[in-house]
Symmetry: D2
Subunit: 364 residues, 4 copies
């Protein structure tokens, strides 16, 4: 049932003649950097879909793998095709796939769950213990073709722009954080104005926050935060930012904290700023253990804290699609660069320099 390099799957239409090989951005050895290689097309099983990647977003995780930091060395096993944020068109269908057609536009959930455990069977597949992530644990999306299980493939409404569809993965992180914490009618603080933090500002506004505030260590992010809907953006170096925020939130602090930076200082300060009884969603990953004043920051304040990983399958996808389709979300200020796949070194350079927010690779 599987296709091999050069084979034609039986379901391919006239226009879907598949090439024998394809370009793919790969981590080929345990060291910094990526290589653009020609490799065979991925095989698909009976329930898989082969997707022709059109646009793909670069994530901070990709930069970690590019730079081959400690986390990457521990988690990633070369050789592997990297990349996990993408959209494209259906290029071939496994024999048992139903409900998809060749050439239709799709994105995909990049976390592949086991589908059989109690978590998967009770709506919590996003925290399945057997999650395998494309571009990290198996071949990813920075290539002309990617194979995905049919249940992970997401049909795109016609009105969703390609560039937005390409970043449904991080947008889904932001939507999952915002919807889990609950922002409707509330004041919200977002710590960390990287790509997901910036998206969260915009999503929080769309989801009904009455005020949104952001804080970041980089001055150049503050203006961007405001353009995306922040009522005010603070520079983390300002020792009185918590005090200023408090005066903007009835003297008590924001109702909700969305922690998108993974910085120990941001977690600590964010919880200090949060009002008693507030809700905090933690998405940013601290690279190591951090010291927390659990009594003062969590217990006495009666805080509710949510660990946020991935996106709900597929509640978050429906929410996200609905928001984008109805134009409640504006990602244009966040997508700062669109580059061809070949310019990957330039792209990672921009990301590292912090001058880019979200970079999209164009593989069309």
């Amino acid at each position: 049932m599987a296709i091999h390099t050069g084979e034609r799957p039986h379901t391919g239409g006239a226009g879907s003649k598949l090439p024998g090989v394809m370009p793919a951005l790969r981590k080929v050895a345990p060291q910094a950097g990526f290589a653009l290689q020609e490799i065979p097309l991925p095989q698909i099983g009976a329930t898989d879909i082969l997707i022709r990647v059109q646009m793909a977003g670069i994530c901070g995780t990709d930069l970690h793998i590019y730079e081959w930091d400690r986390w990457a060395q521990h988690r990633v096993h070369p050789p592997i095709t990297v990349g996990h944020e993408f959209m494209g068109t259906v290029a071939a269908l496994g024999a048992e796939v139903e409900g998809f057609t060749i050439d239709e536009r799709v994105s995909a959930e990049g976390h592949i769950a086991c589908g059989k455990c109690a978590l998967c069977r009770t709506g919590e597949a996003h925290i399945c213990n057997e999650l395998r992530v494309i571009g990290v644990d198996r071949d990813g999306a920075f290539a002309h073709y990617i194979a995905m299980p049919q249940q992970n493939v997401w049909k795109l409404a016609a009105t969703i722009p390609d560039q937005y569809a390409a970043v449904f993965d991080p947008l889904g992180n932001a939507v999952h954080s915002v919807m889990t914490a609950g922002v409707s009618g509330k004041t919200v603080l977002i710590t960390g104005a990287g790509a997901i933090g910036l998206m969260a500002i915009n999503v929080a506004r769309a989801a009904g926050a009455v005020s949104v505030f952001a804080v970041d260590v980089r001055p150049e992010k503050l203006e961007l935060a405001k353009r995306l809907g922040a009522d005010e953006a603070f520079i983390a170096a300002d020792p009185s930012w918590i005090e200023k925020l408090r005066s903007r939130t009835d003297g008590v602090g924001p109702d909700v904290l969305l922690e998108m930076s993974g910085s120990a200082a941001a977690i600590e300060q964010g919880l200090t700023a949060l009002r008693n009884g507030g809700h905090a969603a933690l998405l940013g990953l601290p690279p190591e253990k951090i010291r927390l004043d659990v009594a003062e920051s969590i217990i006495f304040k009666g805080v509710t804290l949510y660990g946020i990983h991935g996106r709900r399958m597929f509640e978050t996808w429906y929410q996200m699609q609905r928001m984008v389709k109805n134009r409640r979300i504006d990602l244009k200020p966040i997508i700062t660069h669109v580059l061809p796949l070949e310019s990957f070194d330039e792209a990672f350079g921009l990301l590292k320099a912090g001058t880019a927010a979200k970079i999209i690779l164009d593989l069309r």
Copy 2:
């Protein structure tokens, strides 16, 4: 409107002749130990109720104050009457008090909230920023009389035993923890089998947990934990207790963690044991900052974590009263000693030695 030593409040009945002075257990100087003194009766304002204390429970917090540890030195300002868990009878009523009668049995919420802030006005008075705690911030309950604001006084149903009513404060901590985490139909781990942890075992069972497990560092607590309803109790020194617990919970770990110890190791191990997507209520107060692997213990697992302080006013009280009235809760194994007020040194010795669970002082 206030009564002074020796005065008779106008509402006093025939049998309520008040003495001029009363015995009270006091922290008189910034050093270890308490003194039993004769002092004037507390004054009551127009909306206060004077209560003749009948029985009072000793809390771990009282031991901290007795021993004058760092926390106590920082928080408590002698001279002050200590104690905050109690029940008694109404002895006198302020001029504006309505709905209470002399001699009726009452307990009281010992956290006095401002009543005016947004938290107080939206059902979250238990985390009001202006909370003042009897026996810590103002005169407490280890005395023959205590003055309480009428809104803090709780009428006791006739079928509630005195000894149970005397410990509604810590029982309320346990009930608040259990009801916030939500245990109905779930498997529950309780870390720390002190008085509140033991109560939580029993409350979790009453609230519909399908299995309850406990862990403690002290072997002598394990049998008590089982008598109160734990399906199994583990000794923390057993390096495989998490593994054993996992095998008892479908291989995935418990759905709920109730952290009652304040120990950094218990928090860390409890979160490790908890299943992905589990809920954790933290009540035990770590004495200092702790190191947490936020990425592994909270974020990747998609854990929801609740900081628990005090008891909800007065939702917890209604829940607690309903459970006790309907005999869903059995505190007998926990109340290990009943002693006269004069034996306070013996009581604190027993507590410190760890041979007592809950000690009640009898002031009748």
Copy 3:
């Protein structure tokens, strides 16, 4: 402690000289119509506040009392001053009142709860069994002065316009409905575009609905609905409106129904339109029993249905104030008329004719 006609309460400032009598709009006899009379100022108790009414909104309930329909005949006992939506300034304070000052701007919750029952003590005072409503069960707000218990008086932020503050009562109904049903990231249908229905459109948008749809029997309301933020407004007479709505909501129907009309047909059609698993908030009061297909409309669909009465004390008030202060809500299109108290007959005529949405009486 109470003030009587012509008396000066001790707390009155220099500028607060109170008149002996005041004009008040009254139901004086069990028949249609109101009378504008001079009556003594209301007395205040020790914990009451006397408010100089500045602006007051006319509600559909007032029209029922004006017309003396069956409901009014059964519920209202003349003579009584009518009106319950208002804002004004503090004119006098009872002896025990704290935290208010003469001349400060206030509105008030018109439902006076007992404050002592389990509902009142657990954050559900809005459904207390002993609720007494101003302008219905006791003297109301269509008068120069009204007495209110201090706990019902709401301090107005400086940036809240008088006209908005005058209609916090119905706006609170809308906010309570929207926040109870939960609209963040959802599609919403509102049945009934009277004043509260129109407010709900605007509030739903502010609270994060991705799409809002309205339906009403009156063509003249549809344009107003769109100006307030409805994506589309349907005329109830159109036999295919449910089908059209379904095609706008992914073929399944809206996620949320806010029923603001009290019409049996609207309830039935609204529940038919609602998607499986949807949430419905019912605020509109059917004047009599209605026939419901409980199996098809509620059970098979797995619908969750909320009965909505009044506004939460005071969670709704905080939410509402936050939304208005932060300019998330625009009531201008709803407030169609501002008239002097003397023009009350004209006002009720406009309301009855359906040519007005919300009419405000100006008593300054």
Copy 4:
């Protein structure tokens, strides 16, 4: 991939030799009664499992089909094998089935959802619009073999008795009702003490209700209700039962209503009995439209009402299995008869007479 009568599926073990035909209880014509016929074994597709039925429960729905009432005439299309509550062992596996082995014990969810709609993909498959029910819309379980999609098949823990596993379908209805309404720490009224109502009494107790009350029209059910854990059971004909219940629930009425009868009178009285702010789960299906005082019974009381259909896939199944495995549930008093398949006419006679609670057909 499908097996036909007399064929051997490739996965069949030595002991799984399948017969060519099997006995099945069938509705063969549009009239009252069933026929026991020999028919070919059901075919299975690539993702289906063939189950050898061991025990099957008779449901009220089966009685409707047996008697061929109006509902049955409208819904059921003969010829069809009836029955939907069952357990058995795996007899054959479709080619694509993974994770099951021949002869393992299983039960199954009898509602077959489409798996592709938004409801199915967001954890609400139990209210999928395309649900097809075994024994109603396709061949059912009163036969020696039944074919089920693999995702509907539920592996049974070894400690779950056959008789309990045979009624996981109605037990799931009860668990879904109880868990949706939320009974932990609450007082509960159950209207209707048929098989599911009786199960709900026991489940509510296990799930942490502090008190459970039941009401039924049949005096013979009251004793059974008490044996299953009801604190008190009322006869519906007693005009003061609501008053008596109120006096048992602090004068305010129960916190939760579980409506299991489908009777208009029970729905009306149950909502009248419910306290303000209470939660009601409606499972019983009224055979036609009913008249409801929506204003008094739902709106003024601030009631939350849940329509309950089927069981959550598969959250309810996990909850149910956990409760049974841990012996929190005792169904023995409910399973009043175990009869061979051939005695089906006797079984339906007993059910109709109301002398049986739950009858199990033994097909071993």
